[in-house]
């Protein structure tokens, strides 16, 4: 038992969590006693300190800091014997592991777990809204349901599931054996369950969960019960996780590309994650700051947002949206990358306008930082700033449009494999365009003055994040499922999942445009009689949408356990991840690949993206060799045509 408590893992983590609670209580009691505050033992104050401290004890107990502690204390670090690489049984996924492929799957599965939790909350929201008046929950619980739903879906599902998919495939795609910082990668993952658990458990906090929306606008958020702090602190862990992962991606992409993998030969998924990581690194500190302000106001009376003491309420909104608008692109660009991979392979054609696809990603990154105040057209801020923000918001549709048109042109004259990943990619194309259009509509100030804070906004965000992001996530999960598991998913169930999702998604969210414009405000547990019929339709459709997710879960679980063997390259794709076994070897490549052409040379007989030299040759020799042969190889396979 003592040995188990010393070794990193769940036993030590649980023991340290108990120590952590004790530490928080002692620290709090000491400080309160020192200042002479009554009562000395304050349950809420202890809870607040514990929320911040206990996660670190947990992470330490799991072993995410072990190597660094050994190193910092001058003790011999355990030489990297790679024993923590690879997963040999399902139990390995519940331990700290530094293999990017294991971490990738940990990320994806954890995110989908929280997606199911968040989805369940959405079902409760829709049950309450099925008819006007009070149904099942009181208004405080209702406000908590939609707040936790949004927070989980954003911070625990869409953002991390993309990080998870990229974690798995990105090093493989650029020909790297792992991420640049494997231990940081493991730490990034383990902060997620901490954040998700905190947000979910907020329902058990005295006074209920945080109930001010995921936007947590001050000064409401600084005046509500302690549940709000579960958001303020939970977001810190989710945010720190994203920042660390983004840094990891940037360093990996910049320094660990295989020989011959120039930036202009990178698959667009890699480009997309490069762009996303830039956004994350620059923007995420702003939401961390905004929630620290709320925390300090709430707990310590800092008066950032207390106007009677010189605070300023609009400041919160500016800082919040300076992150949260780019966050929409953080939740969308990786999906753009996935769609580029799937559409090119499934259409058997090169991506149309590859360089413009990459440039448009960078343009979105840049413009994404210039549009935040379009969320504040009715906030009472200085009026002149609205017009420039309207123009930049409209203009950001141009690079997005370039991407959509390029995907359409990629399909033109292709040979389309309309299977499950492709169906989701096409579903994305058709639905996301509506989310983009309603985004432009919302940029038009006079219209926004009317429809902001209505169900039109709810419809818009769900067309962007569900019709956009979630459909790309499904496309990506189906597309790489054979690579990750070595098994093929059930194609029939995949199609059933798509059609159920596609139809019920539209039946759920399309009518919200209408009831929004007709005047139904969002974030209300009760509404006027005139909206009753549509709300019932929406609620019934949303239950079908919720059930469609179960088809997906069943398909994934049963196919992983007993699906047909998939083979190494079932889609006949050219990118590097498909050139190795399924699942890939522990260090990804038995010999270092050399990239000799673009990633999407479909339609050219014999074209390849990367070649493998016989194992055992020195890396330098390969590089020297490659420098010599690359121009010849490119000419041999042709560089394609631009008509």
């Amino acid at each position: 038992m003592a040995a188990k408590l010393r070794a990193p893992g769940w036993y030590r983590a649980i023991a340290l969590v108990i120590v952590g609670v004790g530490f928080a209580a002692a620290l709090d009691v000491l400080i309160r006693a020192g200042y002479g505050y009554e009562p000395v033992v304050d349950g809420q104050a202890i809870m607040l300190v514990a929320l911040i401290a206990v996660p670190f004890f947990f992470l330490g107990g799991m072993g995410t800091f072990d190597y660094w502690f050994y190193y910092a204390s001058g003790r011999p670090t355990r030489p990297e014997d790679h024993s923590s690489h690879g997963a040999h049984s399902w139990k390995d996924y519940f331990r700290v592991n530094t293999d990017h492929k294991v971490i990738g799957i940990q990320y994806v599965v954890t995110s989908f777990f929280f997606m199911l939790v968040g989805g369940l909350l959405a079902m409760l929201v829709r049950a309450e809204l099925a008819a006007p008046g009070a149904q099942f929950v009181d208004p405080n619980t209702y406000n908590g349901l939609f707040s936790v739903h949004a927070s989980l879906m954003i911070f625990l599902f869409i953002i991390p599931v993309f990080a998870g998919l990229a974690n798995y495939v990105l090093p493989l795609m650029i020909g790297a054996p792992d991420m640049a910082f494997p231990r940081l990668n493991a730490l990034s993952f383990w902060m997620l369950p901490v954040a998700g658990t905190m947000m979910t458990l907020s329902f058990f906090a005295p006074g209920g969960s945080f109930a001010t929306g995921w936007t947590a606008y001050a000064p409401l958020s600084t005046e509500v019960p302690v549940g709000q702090m579960f958001f303020s602190i939970g977001v810190q862990f989710a945010g720190a996780s994203s920042i660390a992962t983004a840094l990891n991606f940037l360093v990996t992409i910049i320094t660990m590309r295989a020989p011959g993998m120039s930036f202009w030969r990178m698959p667009l998924l890699v480009w997309a994650n490069f762009a996303t990581s830039l956004l994350v690194v620059i923007a995420t500190p702003f939401i961390a700051a905004s929630q620290f302000f709320v925390l300090l106001d709430w707990a310590l009376g800092f008066n950032f947002f207390d106007v009677e003491n010189g605070g300023d309420v609009l400041m919160y909104q500016h800082v919040f949206w300076f992150y949260s608008h780019p966050a929409v692109y953080i939740m969308m660009l990786p999906g753009f990358g996935i769609i580029s991979e799937v559409l090119s392979v499934k259409s058997r054609k090169p991506i149309f306008g590859y360089r413009m696809m990459a440039f448009s990603l960078l343009a979105i990154v840049l413009l994404g930082f210039t549009v935040w105040a379009h969320h504040m057209f009715v906030s009472g801020m200085q009026p002149w700033i609205r017009v420039p923000m309207m123009i930049t918001t409209a203009i950001i549709a141009v690079p997005t449009g370039i991407k959509i048109f390029s995907w359409l042109a990629t399909m033109w004259r292709g040979v389309l494999r309309v299977d499950t990943p492709m169906l989701f990619a096409l579903g994305f194309l058709t639905m996301f365009v509506l989310g983009g259009i309603s985004g432009v509509v919302l940029a038009i100030i006079p219209i926004d003055i009317y429809v902001s804070d209505t169900y039109f906004v709810v419809a818009h965000i769900h067309y962007v994040l569900y019709g956009g992001s979630v459909l790309t996530i499904y496309a990506g999960v189906y597309y790489w499922f054979p690579k990750m598991t070595g098994r093929m998913f059930n194609e029939t169930l995949g199609k059933v999942h798509f059609w159920l999702t596609f139809v019920s998604f539209n039946a759920t969210f399309a009518p919200m445009h209408l009831i929004g414009v007709q005047g139904m405000p969002r974030r209300v547990a009760d509404y006027a009689e005139q909206f009753a019929t549509w709300n019932l339709v929406i609620s019934l459709s949303s239950f079908v949408l919720g059930l469609s997710t179960l088809v997906f879960v069943y398909n994934m679980v049963s196919s992983w356990r007993g699906g047909a063997r998939a083979g190494d390259n079932p889609w006949r794709a050219l990118t590097l991840e498909w050139q190795v076994s399924s699942p890939p070897p522990i260090f990804n490549f038995d010999s270092v690949p050399t990239v000799v052409g673009g990633p999407y040379e479909y339609g050219k007989a014999g074209a390849v993206h990367g070649v493998f030299r016989p194992a055992g040759r020195e890396a330098e020799a390969i590089q020297a060799d490659e420098a010599e042969k690359r121009p010849a190889a490119v000419t041999a396979h042709g560089s394609g045509t631009r008509e």
Binding site: L220, G380, L408, V418, L426
Partner: protein, 358 residues
């Protein structure tokens, strides 16, 4: 022969592109007709409303073709280019791009979007433009009620819990809040603005000749009672408005009842009616069997007022923080009933509640 087949293929592609364009145009026309036929908006009760609604139609006409063309293109590709048996190992044409096409689809959307922005700016400038003979109304939000203040003759403001406005009148609203963020919104006027702590925000609305009663809605999440923070805006003929304001200034109008004239004439207001018509209404938050309300935001009055005396009930209405029942938070019930209800209305309500909770 190669040249000829290439030429044939080129012609075939051009034909197909024309088919897509043709189908797209037809579908766009159908889509636009459908989009314009939908009854999107609530009634237009302000001049701003007709301008915003017209701009909406313009935006529909511009954006529906974009949506429709993407759908048509995807469906066409799936129809024409989906893999047929025997094509399992076949690839598409190795086309990497076309600079001219890419320039076109960058430039045209840019121009269209900028044009939309200019149109939006023109409308915005127009609806926010100052107008002659503007009437001032101060709007104050608090959890969870609005109070409307009209300038009185002796410099003293006249408070009301209903927003009365005359027809054909430009109104400048100065919006404030006593606590958290709220948002003053009358959907029929289309305009809205946040009520921001520490600031006064402004919007203008010009009523039309249309009279009617429209909901005033709080559009910014402000806490537990956000959904019930609803009151009425009444647009009435100018003479009627003047009468109302004068009576209100004298303090002898039954503001808040469904029918102010009837209540005024009858003299004694009906407590049961006040229970559901006072704004924000008691029944919006409280369950009371006799009035047939079932809301659960505040205490169930059948229980909490059971056997209470008149004094207790009166204090619970005009000073709700004095005694908050266990399990409910302070600060949820608006503290402004004392200000916005007339004394005889409070009396009637108290009498009614004493009667039905015996």
């Amino acid at each position: 022969m190669d040249e000829q087949s290439a030429e044939n293929k080129g012609r075939r592609d051009r034909n197909r592109l024309m088919q897509v364009v043709g189908l797209g145009v037809i579908a766009s026309l159908v889509g636009i007709a459908w989009g314009l036929a939908i009854d999107w908006f609530p009634v237009q009760a302000s001049e701003e409303a007709s301008q915003i609604d017209r701009l909406w139609d313009v935006v529909l006409i511009v954006s529906i073709p974009v949506f429709v063309f993407v759908q048509v293109f995807v469906l066409y590709c799936v129809w024409k280019y989906r893999m047929r048996p025997g094509q399992e190992n076949q690839d598409g044409a190795p086309i990497h791009g076309n600079t001219r096409v890419e320039i076109i689809w960058t430039a045209i959307p840019t121009i269209v979007l900028l044009a939309l922005c200019i149109g939006a700016y023109v409308v915005l400038d127009d609806i926010e433009d100052a107008r002659a003979d503007t009437m001032d109304v101060r709007v104050v939000g608090e959890q969870f009620a609005w109070t409307f203040y009209y300038p009185g003759e002796d410099g003293e403001e006249i408070a009301s819990n209903e927003l009365y406005l005359p027809t054909n009148q430009s109104v400048a609203f100065a919006v404030q809040t006593k606590d958290v963020l709220h948002d003053f919104w009358v959907p029929a006027f289309r305009m809205k603005i946040d009520a921001v702590p520490g600031r006064t925000t402004n919007i203008r609305v010009t009523t039309t000749e249309r009279t009617g009663t429209y909901p005033v809605v709080c559009a910014e999440l402000c806490g537990l009672g956000h959904a019930v923070m609803r009151q009425n805006a009444r647009v009435v003929a100018p003479e009627e408005f003047d009468t109302w304001l004068a009576e209100r200034a004298r303090g002898d109008v039954a503001g808040g009842s469904e029918d102010p004239e009837a209540a005024g004439e009858a003299g004694a207001p009906d407590g049961k009616e006040l229970f559901t018509s006072t704004q924000p209404s008691c029944g919006g938050c409280h369950t009371l069997a006799d009035a047939g309300t079932t809301a659960n935001l505040g205490p169930d009055l059948d229980d909490s007022l059971q056997g209470r005396d008149e004094e207790y009930i009166r204090r619970a209405i005009v000073e709700p923080s004095a005694d908050v029942p266990a399990g409910f938070e302070d600060g949820i019930m608006p503290p402004n009933y004392d200000e916005t209800m007339q004394p005889e209305q409070v009396d009637a309500l108290v009498d009614y509640l004493v009667e039905v909770t015996k």
